[in-house]
Amino acid sequence: MQNGESRAGHAPLLEARGLSKNYGDTRALDGLDLTIAPGEVYCLLGPNGAGKTTTINLFLGFVAPSGGQALVSGLDVATHDRETKQRLAYIPEQVMLYRNLSGLENLEYFAALGGRGSLGRERLTEILVEAGLERDAVDRRVSEYSKGMRQKVGIAIAIAKEADALLLDEPTSGLDPKASNEFSALVERLRGRGVGVLMATHDLFRAKDTGTRVGIMRYGRLVTELSTDEIGHADLERIYLEHMHD
């Protein structure tokens, strides 16, 4: 297993040390060890209930760990809630926004909450356009947006925040291939800026295409970790299915 620090030559942005989470008697995450360096896109694969979303929730401080630590730039999420969130951006499977506000107003709100202050209309529009939203859509109410457009606003929020790390929870689920492709291109662009990405996904093709490393999870455990430049699409699918049939 290669870790992100040695691969990218930087201190890990995201690190899980023996991270565990129990929900009652159910072990949702079992001693996860993981590091993600700047400029890395780490894709977590696995069936429903494998612990992918739990991992992301632990990095966001949305749930408290039952054991181990989730670290962001070396800071423990459990004790540095605000500092770690300052460094993170999050795009859920469904980016839910205020329907009665425009895309621009939503971005302005979340960017301000993210600590970017007031960016000004011009800059906010630029960011939305950079995220792939049509210029004439920025002032339309979000209630008129498609899921893909909302995802783009989600990306815009992440761009505006200038976060060090991006947490994506099945972000392309339900998107058409074109939108998925655009989304991947955006992630690639952020990666180029040194952003570290942790993406939970069911999409093997997208994982191979966008990710730099892939981790396969099952029953709350990371069962294998692969470098995407050392395997092909077919290899990834085969390895994945092998682990699912064990």
Partner: protein
């Protein structure tokens, strides 16, 4: 920064939400209508008081004119209304009306002012029974239900507006899916909810206070800043209680529908059921004697007294030796005998009214003791007292009228007993009522306890909400 950001976003959401704008507009209309009701009632009282004071002056001038006419050798206009008789000048036709000006903030709270008398015709016959009768003929339905004034809007409707604005302050974020994205930012959920509630509080409470202050300024009733401060303090504390309750219920992580049901239930219990139950308990445990009984006693005592006036006069003079001077013991005049009968009736009436007063005091004590169970009762108490339309200011007025009635009797009764005639020269010495307002600090002292308890409740529920909000996570 977070607060300003949230306030701006909430303002945009409000502008985009037509239903919310209509609800706020409707509430504003109700506030103005309630204020108008308060103004109409206050103006009605002021007109009556002005008329009573004019009549006081006209009566005195009439007596002066007729006495001058008689002293110049003329005849009285009527043998039965001869102003030289102390029975006439000090009796019903010579009454002096003692008045209580409407409370300093009466346009904001009708309070007890439509139930308790704000003027009394004081004469030698004034007794405890007189002090319990209201000269106004008021619609009993109005008395039962209370007037639709600003206090009614604040106590009953403001909580509903507060709940409508905040029952889903957090649950809607969860249901809409925006909570996760919000809490992935470096913000505390407490700050977000506090800013959202602050925005709603500014809308709801700001609307009430704006209408109240503008109403007071427009009607010239803003001369009591201390009372105004108390009134505003009670409104703010009461509204904050409901906001805190809504915030706390939101931390229970249930659906918006569940929150709404629980909060409306709380409103029903705290605003409607508990106050009604306390009033019913007060009526059941300390029922007031019937007024019919009081009138019957007065009539019976009156009949009995007329038949034994001589005996009563002797007894009266024994009890009041200071009045004996000038009374011809063997042949007292008609006036002396009549007065003895009147005094006997008054004594009998006092026994019944004392019982009535004692029961009423018990009722008030019971309500005061249990008002701490309901924030609505606490707020209402403070609001009405601050407005000067509560029990206490009227009791203060009644006490002054009692003293004045005694002064009036002390002036006329010796003349009645001595069968003296009144002259124009005594007119300037006839007592006149001078109202003395209660000390401005009295209302503050009386309301300190309920206001403190209300503040304590806000703090308690607010802390509960704060603790609950501290446990809210983005994955809820």
């Amino acid at each position: 920064m977070t607060a300003r950001t949230v306030l701006r976003k909430e303002w945009r959401l409000l502008r985009a939400d037509r239903a919310l704008r209509i609800a706020l507009g409707l509430f504003g209309v109700l506030l103005v209508y309630a204020l108008a009701n308060g103004v109409v009632w206050t103006r009605f009282q002021e007109r009556n008081i002005e008329s009573a004071q004019t009549q006081n002056v006209e009566r005195a001038a009439g007596f002066a004119e007729e006495l001058a006419h008689i002293e110049a050798g003329g005849e009285p206009a009527s043998q039965f209304a001869d102003p030289r008789s102390p029975f006439v000048m000090g009796g019903s036709s010579g009454s002096h009306t003692a008045t209580l000006e409407p409370g300093p903030l009466s346009v904001l709270a009708v309070g007890q002012s439509d139930l308790l008398p704000y003027y009394y015709d004081v004469n030698i016959y004034t007794n405890e029974s007189t002090l319990q009768q209201n000269g106004e003929v008021e619609n009993p339905v109005n008395l039962m239900a209370g007037r639709f004034d600003l206090t009614f809007v604040v106590v009953y409707l403001l909580p509903l507006l507060v709940l409508a604005l905040s029952f889903n302050v957090l649950s809607a974020e969860r249901e809409r899916g925006t909570l996760a994205l919000t809490l992935s930012q470096p913000v505390r959920v407490r700050s977000i909810v506090a800013a959202k509630l602050a925005f709603r509080a500014m809308l709801a409470v700001g609307l009430v206070l704006a209408v109240a202050v503008v109403g007071l300024l427009a009607t010239g009733g803003a001369g009591s800043p201390g009372r105004m401060l108390l009134w505003c303090g009670a409104v703010v504390a009461y509204a904050l209680f409901w906001f805190a309750l809504a915030a706390w219920v939101n931390t229970l992580r249930r659906t918006s529908a569940w929150n709404a049901t629980v909060l409306v239930g709380a409103w029903l219990v705290l605003v409607v059921v508990l106050p009604a139950a306390i009033n019913i308990a007060a009526d059941l445990l300390h029922p007031l004697p019937s007024r019919v009984e009081m009138i019957t006693v007065q009539r019976e005592a009156s009949n009995e007294a007329v038949n034994s006036r001589s005996e009563l006069l002797a007894r009266y003079l024994e009890d009041h030796p200071e009045m004996a001077e000038g009374v011809v013991a063997d042949d007292p005049g008609f006036g002396a005998l009549s007065w003895a009968a009147t005094d006997a009736v008054n004594q009998q009436v006092e026994v019944v009214t004392a019982e009535h007063d004692a029961r009423r005091a018990e009722q008030i004590r019971l309500v005061r003791r249990y008002r701490y169970l309901s924030p609505a009762l606490l707020a209402q108490d403070v609001i009405i007292d601050a407005a000067g339309t509560g029990d206490a200011r009227y009791a203060h007025f009644r006490d002054q009228v009692r003293v004045f009635a005694e002064e009036w009797r002390e002036f006329f009764v010796p003349a009645i007993l001595a069968d003296e005639q009144m002259t124009a020269s005594v007119l300037p010495q006839v007592p006149t009522y001078r109202a003395v307002e209660e000390d401005p600090g009295d209302a503050a002292r009386r309301t300190a306890a309920p206001l403190t308890v209300l503040g304590g409740l806000v703090l308690l529920v607010g802390m509960g909400a704060g603790v609950g909000l501290g446990r809210v996570r983005g994955a809820d």
